[in-house]
Amino acid sequence: MINSLFLISHSGDIFLEKHWKSVISRSVCDYFLEAKEKAGDPENVAPVLQTPHHYLISIYRGKLFFLSVTQTEVPPLFVIEFLHRVADTFQDYFGDCSEVLIKENTVTVYELLEEMLDNGFPLATESNVLKEMIRPPTILRSVVNTLTGGSNVGGTLPTGQLSNVPWRRAGVKYTNNEAYFDVIEEIDAILDKSGTTVFAEIQGVIEACVKLTGMPDLTLSFMNPRLLDDVSFHPCVRFKRWESEHVLSFIPPDGNFRLMSYHVSSQNLVAIPVYVKQNISFLETGSCGRLDITIGPKQTMGKTVESLTVTIPMPKSVLSVNLTATQGTCTFDLTTKVVFWDVGKLNPQKLPNLRGSISIQTGAPKPEENPSINIDMKIQQLAISGLKVSRLDMYGEKYKPFKGVKYVTKAGKFQVRT
């Protein structure tokens, strides 16, 4: 399946290679680098490429390209999904998936890759299982290791692979038993010039952080599960129970994991928490334009909109902007031509406003299209779909865990066309 993996930095430097079958020369990456050059923006590189003898499947994560080489037919999603899983694992181990961190931890990375694939076929991808085999580096351990020459390879062999709950390691112990669930909903929306909703939907995830001793068996039930239209689960969730009773029943993995993600049925009207009054215009004559944006709360269910930011990618011909904000800070990146306005908390009494002028390169024609406005925000303690967790029960263990549920609504891909 996967013959080799190359990690390539943003600038095109191949800084790690690993082969699972016979060695493939790194010159194969030239095809990819060529495609990358052509595409310009790394986002625009096609994930699946073809070379005379190999097929290249790549992902772009954290300013890095994970490039896998395969020689035969393979479902491309299989490889893509796996590469993302590798990136997730790195993130999990090192806190972030970046070139510096990977270079710093080359040996651990190599050990991980060795365990994750056998002959190009995924072997162990569950983070819990991996962590039993290869301990994640911690500061304490690396200090101790330097002193004693110790290792970061688990002394005991993992049991998880064979246990009936492969995602949970055995013998978990905590003094404080706690289980937290974050219901995070994201609003994807496209609003048109006049503020009417072209398209809006709610996608949600439930992120869990479970630190419970032993083998707890949890059941999470909702007040209104019918809201959920399309769901996907962590493998620990018993699908049958969901189908028959609409409750989530599972033996959780240890630590942080994504329990489920869902989509709220499109029949429900989506409440749009903010409105945007905008006026961006480029003058026909003379190389300048005007910009005036006001944001106000719309349907926030009485909650405050926080960490509101506005991103406007300007046309390439824009030279500079001169904008003043009544609240927060506004910056303009000269290379990417992006206006970034960090508003902060939205105060309904005093609506934030951004206005000023835009200057365009002399001689350049008036931009055809007005830039779209991307909005990011957060509303604490609110699930915009109205989803509510009703209770969490635990079976199988005797102690009483500390339980908590938190709701957050965020803007997903929230775009206003102008």
Binding site: F15, L16, E17, K21, S22, R26, D41, V48, Y55, I59, E73, P75, P76, L77, F78, I80, E81, G95, K103, T106, Y110, E111, E114, N119, F121, P122, I139, L140, S142, V144, L147, G149, S151, L157, Q161, L162, N164, P166, D182, I190, E201, D230, V231, S232, F233, P235, R238, F239, K240, E243, S244, N256, R258, P371, Y395, G396, K398, K406, K413, R417
Partner: protein, 1151 residues
């Protein structure tokens, strides 16, 4: 030392990042932890400081290594390697480790470290696990280059292959098979074969991987490897399944025959296989299904003769029936579809895609749309995932608009999407356009046309063009819109518009002179060659409609001819020729001028064309007969181009960057070939449906007969199953309606609906199928129908009744289910049955989890029949015997059961609480008791035994199988059960046996509620003339049902049942009984309990529940030295405990 400040920042970095991820939930905790770490750091620092004075060689090396690790530019490589060699040869473990780490770093950078091979290979036998692992990494990388030296390490692996620890065995095999040295092929082969029969599934999985490695190293081993694959395919562990199928796909994908007998098992295991294995298995099964099943797509491909055969045949073979009626889906085909459906909810996008393509290629057309939602969901995932999914949706949406139309808005383009995503979305939107939604789509397109991404804007214009041709209502609107775009400032937009307008005009040229004129005006400003060429072509084609303008355009072209692009030149020549023919007066000179220019052009195409045109149109002596036809040739009306999806690969349309000219849909969805639109190496063509499905019986699995001495004719009972198909059917139908007590009808309906899997959507025909298949398969099984049956049927029933009662139960259920399908009877089923109706085959797990009393209890029983099917003989739709807890074969069962059970536990993940689940016995008892001797019974003799199955009448009843034999010389009539005493015991009687011929015997089943006591059930067995008092006294072990639980559950339950509830005794066991399997054999023969798998060698655990009250009964046997053992029983029912203890003691003491 130097690294420390760095690391400290790292601490903060880490905690900050984590914090932000968890949204500050436990920030305080984290800060605390970070603080603690810092303290440790400080102390570590001081520790190191104290060490400082004595700088050892080791420490020097370490600091050096640390420096190298933190990315300082490498010094001269040679020196470094010498250095490493020294470190490897030292006897300090830590130095070696450090050296290996640095070597791995070299390897990871692609630097050559092969000269260190001799030094490294020495450490292969190291005790240090990490060092060992790193040496393995090195070996695998360089063994191919240094074959001779690599051989030094082989013996270490061979030794490790025999290690008692499964992980060491597995990793040894992994590395051994990864060393690509041809000399060791025989060693690898041997190791693989051995590992394939290893007890540990993990090792077996590794051996499946090794098969592929060996095959790629030496393809000559194929035959032997196929044998191993065949063996591993039979493996029942979910761990192995994915890997072995992968090996199958790589080594012998054409040996589809190996799959037959494993097909049902694979389908059933699928949900519990790890996600990567699921993808591989689904893809393989897709291929398999396309060769083995009849197409579900031809709606009315019935052959009359087939139908005839159905009615006429005495149906020795079932195929005839399968082919009958419009279309009946093979139950195995249905099984596959049903078992893959839940995987649409997987978090793994590859799995979802695999299921989607399976449905696309295998499901009846109306069922495909269930995958839509899941595919749309994937669009929320990473960019790369979106790309692949959109490609597949694009292909799907060409053929099946309706599937994605409701989700049209999900394909709206955002300005932040990557270009290839945008283009794909556009493609899909265009495919989805129809009369109803075109206005919405066009409005959306208007936004896109203005996009800053010009390539995307151009693609939008093409899309508008396609919409315009496909939907005639909007052609004019689109055309006008496009004309407006001609005044766009951007060149590419204008050019693209021209090209599209040209195509549109061709479809309806008559009314559009204005547009042509408009374009002629624009001609001067357009510089894009394709657009200019298009306008020229339009002029030429419709020169008669614009007689004034065309010559003028030609004039302008003559001026600039030499500086034009080739494509424009060609069109100029064309225009000239056409004008020459229509308007030679005005353009003769111009044409000649242009033809002369063309004659001396640099491009030979243009020279050729010029020469050709000249010969064709200019009359001369030499010009041939064609001259007359020049007009007809050049001015023939051209067919309008069809604007089609680039995914269909329309020739002549400018191909979008990611497409070729060929149809993409010739490839299986979800494959690399489909994504690249080329045939990749190793792509397996998806075959067409066979015209006639091959024999489905190849998938039947032969199961070893359960040892049942009372049913000697069982083996033969298989044969008559299919004869008299019809009469049986009727008989059952009658009986279903006749004897269907409320209870049984609701039960059967629930089981039937769960069989049908979301039956609402199922078409009538498939319901018919359920009927036929289940009927035919069950026709051998007896029924308790009471009256008016022909002699022959009677006989058959006698035979049949010897078969276990679950069959008859099944039959009853099925017969009822037919009615459900056809009539209003289904409505009477209880609501719980209804709710479970769309749950699937293993719904018993759900319902059995409910521990609330009455109504749910019923569900447990109701769904029970499904589990029972396990040990049934004929295999069909419901056949689950591939993962039944233990093979019913008696002697071996206990050997297997524990390992199998542990595998099984992996399968039963969906249990809510496994402690609650009750399963069938894994061990059939063979004890038969006398109920009535033929001397006292005046010829009627009766024997009974406990079949150890859940009773079908009520869950609280114990099932008793009674065999009635007529040993008199006259036939006995009306055998039934008369008065009962004491009345408190609830006995469910068997239906009256109308007639029992001399010498014949019949088996009937009773249900007795003993209320968890060993009190005897007394009743009267009556014939027409006589009455005999009989009594059934149950052994305490028969009042139990086995309960499957995991060890931890067992222990926790046991803790709850201490003190009063615990009974124990030390027993001296017969020497023959000391082996583990003998013990479980003995225990299982006494009590109907389930084995709890355990890792501890000296402990054996069994779990059961009392049938009436469901109280747990836990049996623990702790082996002590010199064949004594401590037997402990934990249960609330103390009386039972002491009785059970006594029985067990007795059984274990005697040899």
């Amino acid at each position: 030392m130097t690294t420390e400040p760095e690391e400290e920042t790292n601490v903060c970095g880490l905690s900050v990042r984590r914090q932000s991820r968890m949204n500050g939930g436990f920030s305080s905790l984290r800060l605390e932890a970070a603080g603690a770490m810092r303290t440790v750091l400080v102390s570590a620092e001081s520790l190191q400081l104290t060490l400082k004075p004595e700088l050892t060689q080791e420490e020097q090396a370490l600091t050096h290594a640390a420096a190298a690790g933190s990315g300082r530019p490498k010094e001269t490589l040679k020196a470094g390697n010498e250095d490493l060699k020294e470190m490897l040869e030292s006897n300090k473990e830590s130095l070696k480790l450090e050296a290996m780490k640095r070597i791995v770093q070299l390897i990871s950078k692609g630097k050559n470290a092969s000269d260190l091979f001799p030094a490294v290979v020495k450490n292969v036998a190291s005790k240090n696990i990490e060092l060992k692992k790193l040496v393995y990494v090195y070996l695998v990388r360089y063994a191919e280059e240094q074959q001779d030296l690599a051989l030094l390490s082989i013996s270490t692996f061979q030794r490790a292959l025999k290690d008692p620890n499964q992980f060491i065995r597995a990793s040894a095999l992994r590395v051994l098979s990864s060393i690509r040295v041809p000399i060791i092929v025989p060693i690898m082969m041997l190791a693989i074969k051995e590992a394939a029969s290893d007890l540990s599934p993990y090792v077996r999985k590794t051996s499946a991987h090794a098969i592929q490695k060996l095959y790629s190293l030496d393809a000559d081993q194929k035959e032997q490897l196929i044998e191993v694959i065949e063996k591993l395919l039979k493996d029942k562990s979910t761990l192995v399944a994915g890997s072995v199928v992968m090996a199958f796909e790589e080594v012998c994908p054409d040996r589809i025959d190996l799959i037959h007998i494993n097909y049902r098992k694979l389908c059933n295991l699928l949900v519990d296989v790890e996600e990567w294995g699921q993808v591989v298995i689904i893809n393989m099964l897709t291929r398999y299904a396309r060769t083995q099943f009849a197409s579900p797509w031809k709606e009315d491909g019935i052959l009359d003769e087939n139908e005839k055969a159905f009615y006429d045949s005495d149906s020795e073979e079932k195929q005839g029936q399968r082919e009958a009626k419009p279309y009946i889906m093979d139950p195995d085909h249905r099984l596959l579809l049903r078992n893959t459906k839940p995987l649409l909810q997987s978090r793994n996008t590859a799995v979802v895609m695999a299921v989607a393509q399976l449905y696309w290629h295998l499901a009846p057309k109306h069922e495909v749309s269930i995958v839509t939602k899941s595919l749309v969901r994937l669009l929320r995932s990473h960019r790369e995932v979106q790309y692949v999914v959109l490609q597949n949706i694009a292909t799907m949406s060409i053929q099946r608009k309706g599937m994605f139309e409701p989700h049209m808005k999900s394909f709206y383009v955002r300005s932040t999407d990557a270009t290839h995503i945008k283009t794909l979305k556009l493609e899909i939107l265009t495919n989805l356009a129809n009369e109803a939604n075109i206005s919405t789509i066009l409005r959306e397109f208007q936004t896109y046309v203005k996009s800053q991404d010009k390539a995307f804007a151009a693609a939008t214009i093409q899309a508008i063009g396609r919409c315009a041709t496909n939907i005639s209502e909007v052609t004019d609107t689109c055309l006008n819109g496009l004309v407006l775009l001609l005044s766009n400032r951007d060149e590419t937009v204008v050019a693209e518009s021209v090209v599209v307008i040209k195509k549109l005009l061709q479809t309806q040229p008559t009314q559009h002179c204005d547009i042509i004129k408009h374009m002629a005006k624009l001609f001067d400003n357009i510089t894009v060659p394709m657009a200019r060429a298009s306008i020229l072509w339009l002029m030429g084609e419709y020169c008669e409609r614009v007689p004034k303008i065309a010559p003028d355009v030609l004039r302008k072209m003559a001026k600039t001819f030499t500086s034009e692009e080739d494509i424009v030149k060609l069109q100029t020549v064309n225009l000239a020729a056409k004008l020459y023919l229509t308007n030679s007066k005005q353009t003769k000179l111009l044409t000649q001028y242009i033809l002369n220019l063309g004659k001396y052009d640099q491009n030979y195409d243009i020279r050729d064309r010029t020469r050709f045109i000249r010969q064709l149109i200019v009359p001369s002596e030499k010009s041939g007969a064609l001259n007359k036809y020049a007009r007809r040739i050049l001015l023939a009306s051209k067919p309008a181009p069809v604007l089609e999806s680039a995914f269909k690969g329309q020739l002549g349309q400018t191909p979008l960057p990611w497409t070729n000219e060929m149809d993409r849909d010739r490839f299986q969805l979800g494959t690399l070939s489909h994504s690249l639109n080329i045939k990749t190496t190793g792509y397996q063509e998806l075959s067409d449906w066979p015209a006639v499905a091959p024999d489905p019986s190849v998938r039947n699995v032969e199961v070893i007969e359960p040892v049942q001495e009372w049913a000697p004719s069982l083996g033969k009972a298989k044969k008559p199953k299919s004869d008299k198909f019809y009469s049986d059917d009727e008989e059952k139908e009658e009986e279903g309606s006749g004897s269907g007590s409320e209870d049984s009808s609701s039960r059967s309906s629930s089981s039937s609906s769960s069989e049908e899997s979301g039956s609402e959507s199922e078409e009538e025909s498939s319901r018919d199928l359920e009927k036929t298949s289940s009927d035919s398969e069950k026709s051998s099984s007896g029924s308790e129908a009471s009256s008016s049956e022909s002699e022959s049927q009677q006989k058959k029933k006698k035979r049949a009744k010897k078969v276990t009662p679950r069959k008859s139960k099944q039959a009853a259920a099925d017969s009822d289910s037919d009615e459900n399908g056809n009539g209003p009877v289904g409505k009477t089923s209880s609501s719980s049955a209804e709710s479970s109706s769309d749950s699937e085959s293993d719904s018993e797990e759900d319902s059995s989890s409910d521990d609330s009393p009455a109504p749910q209890k019923k569900t447990v029983a109701k769904t029970k029949p499904k589990v029972e099917v396990k040990s049934k003989k004929e295999v069909s739709l419901l056949d689950l015997d591939d993962f039944s807890a233990a093979p019913p074969s008696a002697p071996k069962s206990s050997v297997f059961s524990s390992s199998l059970l542990s595998d099984l536990e992996g399968l039963s993940l969906s249990n809510v609480s496994s402690a609650m689940q009750v399963t069938t016995s894994s061990f059939g008892p063979v004890k038969t008791y006398e109920l009535l001797h033929h001397m006292t019974g005046k010829g009627l003799s009766a024997k009974y035994h406990f079949p150890r199955q859940p009773c079908l009448y009520q869950p609280s009843m114990v099932a008793v199988q009674v065999i009635l034999t007529n040993s008199s010389d006259h036939s006995l009539e009306e055998i039934h059960i008369g008065d009962q005493s004491p009345a408190s015991l609830n006995v469910h009687c068997f239906n009256t046996v109308e007639r029992l011929e001399p010498g014949a015997s019949v088996s009937v089943s009773l249900g007795i509620d003993f209320s968890d006591s060993t009190q005897a059930a007394n009743f009267q067995l009556c014939t027409k003339e006589d009455q005999f008092s009989v009594s059934i006294q149950p052994a305490v072990g028969e009042l139990l049902m086995p309960s499957t639980m995991k060890e931890p559950d067992f222990c926790s339950e046991q803790k709850k049942l201490m003190g009063m509830n615990e009974t124990s005794a030390t027993i001296a066991m017969a020497t023959a009984n000391t082996s583990k399997q003998n013990i479980s054999k003995q225990v299982l023969s006494v009590a109907n309990v389930g084995v709890v798998s355990s890792d501890q060698n000296n402990l054996q655990r069994f779990a059961g529940r009392t049938i009436s009250s469901g109280a747990l009964v836990l049996v623990t046997l702790e082996l002590r030295e010199s064949s004594t053992a401590l037997l402990t029983i934990n249960t609330e029912k103390t009386v039972m405990a002491s009785m059970l203890l006594r029985d067990l003691k007795q059984a274990l003491c005697q040899a």
